[in-house]
């Protein structure tokens, strides 16, 4: 179960930063005492989690960008964001 719905506006809280690690050539999510390696797709999702867009808008944008059905995108995005929320590196 997740308390996220299409009107949730996910965002990175203060103290969590999406940053490109130039030395290792990959995206990372920097958090207190944690470093999460983030693949390019996840980085794209997180760049859209700006606290302005709601989940519906994020899913619509990704569906267009990746030319995939919204239902498929939504399932993946919600799973990813719920996981990050449980780790306290994402707020909705």
């Amino acid at each position: 179960m997740t308390d996220m719905d299409s009107r949730s506006r996910p965002r990175l809280p203060r103290g969590v930063k999406l940053r490109h690690d130039d030395v290792r050539g990959r995206w990372t999510l920097l958090a207190p005492e944690r470093i999460f390696a983030v693949d390019a797709t996840a980085a794209t999702v997180l760049q859209l989690c700006d606290g302005e867009r709601d989940l519906a808008a994020i899913v619509a944008e990704l569906a267009q960008r990746y030319n995939a059905p919204e239902a498929v995108i939504e399932k993946d995005v919600v799973a990813m964001l719920a996981d990050l929320k449980a780790k306290r590196v994402l707020e909705t």
Partner: protein, 371 residues
């Protein structure tokens, strides 16, 4: 020729800087060396800023601003600014007792990302007794409020020893009450001053196991609200902790006077020469300092580490602990059950825990600074 030079090691993930050894508290579990460095020997703001730039270029992502008490530095805000501008994720590790609203605001404005606040007890009497500082409890609580009011993530670091082991549940409640995102239940590690105080601090095994079960239950209950990390007392462990993630592998420490170290106790190992960041770049030290190469990787290992399937998980455990307890820095850390010395150190711990409270030796910066 350099044809046989070792390949460049993978870059460090983080750098821990001990900005000063000065500290207002007198914690008996202090893991800093028994002999502390003088204020006059401390690096200046410009040198720290250069180190941050070098660390980021080398590949470090996190910087941990520690000590001693890092806010004892008058230039702490400028130091934070230097680290943030270098692109590092900045973590302030503090006792929280000496910071005014004004100085805290300057630190936040300078770009601090995260604060880690230590607690010595989960109530006033225990906290102030173990911190050896009278108003520490009230000051720490006030600091926690300043952190959360600024919107920064707060970690509570509860340092556990025999005198407060019964408070693990109360520490979890305290972290929730103070609005922390993260709690470290950190059993004392016995280095430096803490090793000299071990008999007064070592907890009994049974209570340690109960506290571990309690934390595991709380993790489930508080999922999504509070992240709880736990460092167990390794005398009672089955496998050793991979100290610093492996020697010269993940982390680099810099002492107040600029000595670069693979871990903050590394100077206890004789025969190693640690280069100083005043004279060499961090990249050069990381790659070329023989002290960083001494226990890097697995080539240095003896049995039972050498043929162990966990050799690249535990990395042999801790070199300083092997030296302190077995007398040989290249031996298997006796925290490992495969060490021939493991039974002896577990028995020592149990005996010390059972013996009635030995006198605690409080740390005092003024008395213990090196001449």
């Amino acid at each position: 020729m350099t044809a046989h030079a070792p390949p460049s090691p993978a870059p460090p993930i983080g750098v821990l800087v001990e900005l000063t050894h000065r500290c207002p508290l007198g914690c008996p579990y202090c893991s800093n060396p028994v002999s502390l460095e003088r204020p006059a020997a401390e690096l200046g703001t410009q040198t720290w800023t250069r180190i941050f730039t070098e660390a980021a270029a080398l590949g470090a992502l996190h910087v941990h601003l520690s000590g001693g008490e890092p806010t004892a530095r008058r230039d702490i805000a400028e130091i934070v600014r230097g680290a943030a501008q270098a692109g590092l994720y900045t973590n302030l590790i503090t006792s929280g007792v000496g910071l005014s609203e004004k100085r805290w605001s300057a630190i936040v404005e300078a770009g601090l990302d995260h604060a880690q606040l230590s607690f010595q007890g989960a109530d006033q009497a225990t906290n102030d007794r173990l911190a050896h500082y009278d108003s520490a409890w009230e000051r720490k609580r006030a600091f926690a409020a300043m952190v959360t009011n600024a919107g920064l993530p707060l970690t509570i670091n509860a340092v556990i020893s025999r005198g407060n082991l019964h408070q693990v549940g109360a520490f979890i409640d305290l972290a929730v009450e103070l609005g922390a995102r993260r709690l470290e239940v950190a059993h004392t590690q016995y280095y430096g001053w803490a090793l000299a105080n071990r008999a007064a601090l070592m907890p009994p095994r049974k209570e340690v196991e109960e506290s571990i079960a309690l934390v595991e239950g709380a993790r489930t209950r508080l999922k999504g609200r509070l992240v709880i990390d736990m460092v167990i007392p390794d005398y009672y462990a089955r496998y050793p902790k991979p100290c610093a993630g492996g020697w010269g592998r993940m982390a680099i420490n810099v002492s107040p006077s600029g000595k670069a170290l693979p871990c903050h106790a590394a100077e206890s190992i004789p025969g190693l020469e640690f280069w100083n960041v005043r004279e060499r770049s961090l990249a050069e030290i990381w790659r070329d300092n023989p002290a960083f190469q001494a226990f890097r990787g697995t080539d240095w290992m003896q049995e039972p580490c050498r043929s162990c399937e966990r050799r690249e998980i535990d990395w042999g455990g801790c070199r300083c602990q092997a030296l302190a307890l077995v007398g040989a820095a290249a031996a298997t850390d006796p925290a490992c059950h495969k060490s021939p010395h493991h039974a002896r150190i577990a028995a020592t711990a149990a005996a010390e825990a059972e013996a009635d409270a030995s006198a605690i030796r409080w740390r005092s910066y003024k008395d213990k600074v090196e001449a």
